[in-house]
């Protein structure tokens, strides 16, 4: 797995103050559990995303710890309240130095 990978964020670009936003975010990753073996019986080492964080104008609003039982290309759906216009930053980190991040801007009216 490469050190970065593709991500797709689905969220509205604008919202009213106080509105609850649904954010859907999917990341490309094999999430190799570490429990599988090759055809010749060798164990495939674990290679997963361990951590996902979302910050809203620098303030952490959501965090997930990921474990080997989670499937490939993890899809995370969560909500947050629109408080002010600004930037949401999404960051993943994991085994073998994996790090990926993306941002979305939100305009609050």
């Amino acid at each position: 797995m490469s050190k970065t990978s593709r991500t797709i964020v689905t969220m509205p670009a604008t919202a009213k103050k106080g509105e609850i936003l649904e954010i859907r975010i999917i990341v490309q990753h094999d999430m190799e559990s570490g429990f599988r073996h090759t055809e010749t019986g060798q164990r495939i080492p674990r290679d997963i995303i361990r951590d996902f964080r979302c910050t809203y104008n620098g303030v952490e609003v959501f965090r997930v710890e990921l474990h080997p039982a989670m499937g490939a290309n993890p899809l995370i759906v969560f909500t947050t309240t629109a408080t002010e216009s600004g930037t949401l930053e999404f960051k993943w980190s994991g085994d073998n130095g994996y790090a990926s991040s993306t941002t979305s801007t939100l305009t609050v009216t």
């Binding site: 593709r6 999917i26 490309q28 094999d30 999430m31 499937g71 490939a72």
Partner: protein
């Protein structure tokens, strides 16, 4: 029949539930009377129709479909220069949204040299002849990505494989293989996917096996895979020696299945449970 139970229990113990079910099916089949003819025309149905609303939603929304990543990777590979001749796919074929429209719907087909090729086989042929590059390995990520990208250009278009003088004999071989009992369980494709399509196996509906969505993202695989991989799965399921990737047998089966699904609409890239 104590040996029957022995095999059945050993399947269960090895957590190979699908094998256990197939085995019991093989034992029960001779007594099971409600079989039907292979559905034709408008009676045919994509296995999409049998999926849960959640899985359907995953396939329908490109922002949720995990195979989208393969399509996007394929889009990048399409532009990438490779091989001794310094050519990318785009160097010859240009804009894939124009040049590849409907192409996937016509495969497998014979090339000018009289070789039966699947879409991925055709991609590899291009790599060898026109790019001077090494072919991608079967089921490798780049090959699946390019196949998914090209197949995606035909999404919503009908399969156009017809019986022609060129493919007639391969088609007949494919049909023969579809109806041939195979493996230790001694089952043919047709016994489940034609005669018992729509019935259930372990609470899961048996699909009619129309290859309308390949390459698919299969949740069980946690990855994108080809029709050949899926066919090999079924062969292992009936305890037959699976045909090798790229073998004539798999290609003939693929050709027959595509012809059997002719005029049905492509959904590539599909999501399957």
């Amino acid at each position: 029949m104590p040996w029957v139970w022995q095999v059945f229990l050993s399947c269960l113990l090895e957590k190979r539930v699908s094998l256990a079910i197939l085995f019991s099916l093989a034992i029960l089949l001779p007594f099971h009377t409600s079989s039907q003819a292979d559905p034709v025309g408008a009676e045919r149905q994509s296995s999409y129709a049998l999926m849960s609303p959640d899985t359907k939603a995953m396939q329908d929304d490109p922002l949720l479909n995990p195979a989208t990543f393969a399509v996007l990777d394929g889009q990048v590979l399409w532009q990438e220069i490779a091989g001794k001749k310094n050519q990318s796919c785009a160097s010859c074929h240009g804009d894939a949204t124009v040049s590849m429209k409907g192409i996937a719907a016509s495969f497998p087909k014979f090339n000018a040299a009289g070789q039966l090729l699947s879409l991925s086989g055709r991609i590899n042929q291009c790599r060898i002849e026109h790019q001077g590059a090494t072919p991608f390995a079967f089921e490798s990520k780049p090959l699946l990505a390019l196949s998914a990208f090209v197949a995606n250009q035909s999404k919503g278009m009908p399969i156009t494989v017809e019986r022609t003088p060129a493919n007639e004999s391969a088609l007949a071989s494919g049909q023969r293989l579809f109806n041939q009992r195979m493996g230790q369980l001694n089952l043919s494709c047709a016994q489940c996917h034609a005669e018992r399509a729509g019935q259930e196996i372990a609470g899961n509906p048996i699909p009619q096996a129309h290859p309308t969505a390949y390459p698919i993202y299969r949740l069980e695989w946690q990855a994108v895979g080809s029709l050949e991989r899926r066919l090999r799965n079924c062969l292992v399921g009936v305890r037959a020696e699976p045909f090798a990737f790229g073998s004539t047998e798999l290609l003939e089966l693929e050709l027959f299945l595509a012809w059997r699904a002719r005029a049905m609409l492509l959904e590539s890239p599909g999501v399957r449970p």
